[in-house]
């Protein structure tokens, strides 16, 4: 009964209630959609980082992490790889050698992180190879229709991912690094590095391919060569590895696998992507909190408007409230009625807002929002200029709770006003 009275009461002043509902709707659409954009950005960043850069889990010799000294390779790497490949949670494994080197072109030089990889294994773990071939799409966009010309264009501009046999050693570098070194595909680069015994050595590599990902910092600092070529250059055994990168199957819980591996290999360091790039993990966790903070602030602002409306409601209905209390409606029921009206008033706009926001998020989550004028800035910090908003169902559920909470808080003052009425006096008031 009180439910139905409260619901009917909010439609007594249609216009006023609609204005409040529209305000809540706009607040919700704005809040949820912008939250979804931020969340989508951060999720995309994480996905790309996992896809191109860190993979899910990395295993190292604990001392290797301190100084990246090449003597600290993973003991018995080959055997461990076999075991890891057999685990049901694991999709693919790649062994890597890793060391800081100097790269020089004919004009300039810079320091980069050089990864020695087995291309076939690496393809299964990270997608840098795709970042080389995806650039082929550029050629199509340039309207080069002729198949042979496309092939030529790709070979000239982006190259390949260790797919062609050449006499010289091959290196794949990022687009930013290529720009910095002023080199193209097939250009020669000299890599200077330390050998196992501490002496300096160098090798000539030819640029096989240029990859392009959204994170410019990585593009600028990560280069790939074949593992066996790097091993022989520095004098390491072919089977040795500094790093084992692991890609998990879909839906596998990261934490549990990390824990399992940590127990299995107590002598090694097993890290998830959150440990490897703590900034990334922190950003996503911090963002989750910030999104709620933003929603709370929006709701708080809306709550003040709702308080105002409900005060008007109570003031207008002094006589009626007096009558209700006179005939035996107790304080709890009066309070509940005012509170329910406030909740209905808020949640109606809230639900409409959520539905609109969900539709927007759904549409743009599929089609993306391309921010052309910001693309350089976004890429510099590792974010894609095409945003795919996304937000979990849990967020919506929490918002519903937050709206109800805000409505309850907003109803307290008006409800107390109503309770302070003395029925005998309220009944005499003429409005």
């Amino acid at each position: 009964m009180i439910f139905s009275i409260a619901w009917k009461n909010i439609w007594r002043n249609r216009m006023r209630s609609l204005i409040v509902m529209i305000a809540v709707t706009i607040g919700m659409v704005g809040g949820i959609f912008s939250s979804a954009i931020m969340k989508g950005m951060s999720e995309q960043r994480v996905k790309e980082a996992i896809k191109y850069e860190v993979s899910h889990i990395q295993i190292h010799h604990p001392k290797f992490l301190e100084n990246q000294e090449m003597t600290y390779d993973i003991p018995g790497a080959g055997k461990k790889i076999q075991h890891l490949k057999g685990m049901p949670e694991i999709a693919a494994v790649s062994k890597r050698l890793e060391m800081p080197v100097m790269i020089k072109s004919s004009t300039t030089g810079t320091g980069v992180q050089l990864l020695g990889i087995n291309p076939e294994h690496e393809k299964q773990v990270t997608s840098i190879y795709k970042a080389v071939y995806d650039s082929a799409a550029v050629a199509e966009n340039l309207n080069i229709k002729d198949g042979e010309k496309i092939q030529n264009f790709i070979e000239d501009s982006v190259g390949h991912y260790f797919d062609k046999k050449t006499r010289s050693k091959q290196i794949v570098i990022g687009e930013k690094l290529a720009e910095q070194l002023k080199v193209d595909v097939k250009s020669k680069l000299i890599v200077n590095l330390q050998t196992l015994d501490g002496s300096l050595t160098g090798g000539v590599f030819r640029v096989a391919g240029i990859y392009r990902i959204t994170n410019s910092a990585t593009e600028n600092s990560m280069a790939f060569v074949k593992k066996n070529e790097l091993a022989s250059l520095v004098g390491l055994e072919n089977g040795s590895a500094h790093e084992i990168a692991i890609k998990l199957n879909e839906g596998v819980e990261l934490k549990s696998v990390v824990k399992k591996l940590q127990t299995k290999y107590p002598e090694l360091s097993v890290m998830s992507w959150k440990d490897i790039q703590p900034d990334l993990g922190m950003v996503t966790e911090w963002l989750d909190i910030m999104l709620y903070v933003v929603m709370v602030i929006i709701l708080l602002a809306l709550a003040f408007g709702i308080v105002n409306t409900m005060l008007m409601v109570v003031l207008e209905r002094v006589k009626e409230l007096g009558m209700l209390m006179a005939i035996g409606m107790n304080r709890l029921r009066v309070f509940s009625m005012i509170m329910l009206e406030t909740i209905f008033l808020s949640i109606t706009g809230g639900i409409v807002g959520m539905v609109i926001a969900a539709l927007l998020v759904g549409y743009y989550g599929e089609n993306g929002i391309y921010l052309k004028s910001f693309s350089q800035g976004f890429e510099a910090v590792g974010y894609s200029p095409v945003l795919y908003p996304e937000i979990g169902i849990q967020f919506y559920l929490t918002i519903v709770l937050l709206i109800i909470l805000a409505a309850i808080i907003a109803s307290i003052y008006p409800a107390i006003k109503a309770l302070r009425l003395k029925p005998a006096e309220a009944l005499r008031i003429e409005i």
Binding site: M1, E320, A326, I327, N330, R333, A424, L427
Partner: protein, 227 residues
């Protein structure tokens, strides 16, 4: 046997600097089934007296005893229960719940009392038929005339099966015909249901119908006549 005993009741309002003796030493008794009018000019204290009988106000001194309970001793929450179970109110301005239909308005108080749905529906229908609104049970107050609304209010007042029906100037806003209809209905229900009706009024039409007339002036009983 008295079911309402008012003993030397005073009510002093001192919200402003001047003390107002709204009710100044009233002693009255009512028996079951009475149909009584409290008559007096405005400001005579009749509404205050009625409010105290109805538990909307408490006396400054003196006792109002219903069923051997002194209303003055009740706590606010007990007063609400007292009003809900013992008193049926009819107000001058009808004061129905505008968003509810006639039937829902009548059922409302039974709902507060926690009566089962079947009983609520049967009683509200019965009462609305008794006040001649059997065909308007699903109308909202805004679709009814003043007289019809006040008849719904009477039905509502009786719905809880109270001991008393208190009506504060129930006919003040009604034309002669509606007043007559309303009074006839109230008298009929008073006989059928056996509840005690007490009106405050200065309407001669009501005074004529009443079987007992208590005249109040300056907060004191001037006369108390059966007729």
């Amino acid at each position: 046997m008295k079911i309402l005993d008012i003993k030397n009741v005073h009510k002093i309002y001192n919200e402003t600097a001047v003390e107002v003796n709204a009710v100044n030493g009233v002693t009255l008794g009512f028996e079951k089934g009475e149909f009584a009018a409290i008559v007096g000019p405005s400001g005579s204290g009749k509404t205050t007296l009625l409010n105290m009988i109805g538990g909307l106000d408490q006396p400054t001194s003196g006792e109002i005893i219903v069923n051997s309970t002194n209303i003055g001793d009740l706590k606010p929450s007990q007063l609400i229960d007292f009003r809900m179970n013992y008193i049926g109110f009819v107000f001058q301005a009808y004061n129905l719940i505008p968003v509810l239909t006639a039937k829902e308005n009548v059922e409302f108080i039974m709902h507060l009392q926690g009566r089962p749905k079947k009983e609520r529906e049967a009683r509200s229908k019965e009462l609305l038929e008794a006040v001649g609104l059997g065909d308007r049970i699903d109308s909202r107050p805004s679709k009814m005339s003043g007289g019809q609304q006040q008849r719904v209010a009477v039905a509502r007042a009786l719905a809880s099966k109270p001991k008393f029906v208190l009506a504060d100037e129930p006919t003040a806003n009604l034309d002669s015909k509606s007043t007559e209809t309303l009074l006839d209905i109230m008298e009929k229900l008073n006989r059928e249901e056996g509840m005690t009706f007490i009106f405050s009024t200065h309407d001669n039409r009501v005074v004529k119908k009443a079987r007992r007339v208590v005249t109040v002036e300056d907060g004191q009983v001037k006369s108390d006549k059966e007729q």
